[in-house]
Symmetry: C2
Subunit: 225 residues, 2 copies
Amino acid sequence: MSNSGQFSFRKHVAPQPSGNIGKAERTRAAILNAALGIIWSHPFRDMTVGSLMAETGFSRSVFYQYFDDLHDLMKTLLEDLQVDIFDVTGAWFEGVGDPIVLLDESLSGLVTVCYKFGPILRAVDDAAATDERFEKDWRRFLGKFDDAVTSRIEADQQQDLIPGFDARPIAIALNRLDAYTLINAFGQRPRKNPKPVNEALSRIWIASLYGSEWPEKGSSNLVRK
Amino acid sequence: MSNSGQFSFRKHVAPQPSGNIGKAERTRAAILNAALGIIWSHPFRDMTVGSLMAETGFSRSVFYQYFDDLHDLMKTLLEDLQVDIFDVTGAWFEGVGDPIVLLDESLSGLVTVCYKFGPILRAVDDAAATDERFEKDWRRFLGKFDDAVTSRIEADQQQDLIPGFDARPIAIALNRLDAYTLINAFGQRPRKNPKPVNEALSRIWIASLYGSEWPEKGSSNLVRK
DNA sequence: GTTTAAATTGACAAGATGTCAAATTCTGGG
DNA sequence: CCCAGAATTTGACATCTTGTCAATTTAAAC
């Protein structure tokens, strides 16, 4: 899905013995494209195998030749999304340079990708609610980020760039912040303006991790009146 | 749902002309209790009208005498939850006293309630994915918090307790942080330990809103090596 | 061109939903 | 105590969606 939106699934088209492209691969790609088309303008709950295959012109049973069910199809979409997202957020995770600058870069990359693929992200989350196996896939996806963020925080803590709190709960919380703020903002059209979203996420991440001064509970200078 | 868990739906039981309780009310309550019982140990997707009514001993069609569909039932559960949550988070919203202390109180109240009713919260979110009308209810619910938090932030900004950023995007982001961190932690058993969750949320909210020192991008004292 | 494997189809059984008319059970007035 | 009317409950039905299968059509290799 590194291409720009709805159509053409080069990624899924395996090379053919001859220079030609197999019918099967073309059919599979057509189904995936039809799915994207639906997801872009309708919630996941409105996509049935029937409505999906109607878009393609093939009969309904063809679907089952290529996918186990709709959630299996969503898994493919999620895998593509995962590549794009890890690509674009790599900077901070690798961590060479000013961590605040890197974090800012990673977040704005994330916002850009999710702005582009917001409806897919939303469909993935919706689909996870209705299928046990796919829910696990979605959790695994989020879990990878939880691990990566936890590691990054712990590394920076060892250098005293980040105060020494329990990293994992914060990592989990910040990832849920991202995922659901982005789904809320870009999950359906009309999508919100990405700028304020980006600023909000940056502010919260940076304040939580690198904001150096920690007000004490009851610190007098913050008491009203 | 101010009572402690699965059973007894006094709230839904209307007073009777005579001291007695109508059969209808009892049936309705039995259905709601059965729903809670299911939600506590199974994901929402496994609850069908059939499985639900099997628990009650009534026939499946009785369900439709009392609710339009499962989402209509979930709406009732959400409404109860909403009361409990607004109850317990009121402190910071009203805002008389040290705002950091108040915020901390509100958050720990929220954690307590969600620890108690986590599976319901999760079921509500899952249910929202499968029904248009109920999704709107869930959004309205979150929206009320978005409004309340935005107001509170703006009020504190006017007193220079909080820096003058665009309040609404931050409010939305922080509410998604809460909702989905809590669903993740307490939405299914075994629930996580509430203490670290509470600490993580407090840290993030307080740092984002009242953390006074804001590191600049590229500030040299944070560059590695 | 024929053969063999892949791709596609239509028909089917199972499970869930929401509706309805009919049957049963309550309730209050005589 | 009994009965009429209302409230409650039931079983059967039509519809939709899903996933499977055997049969048929189409494409590729020899």
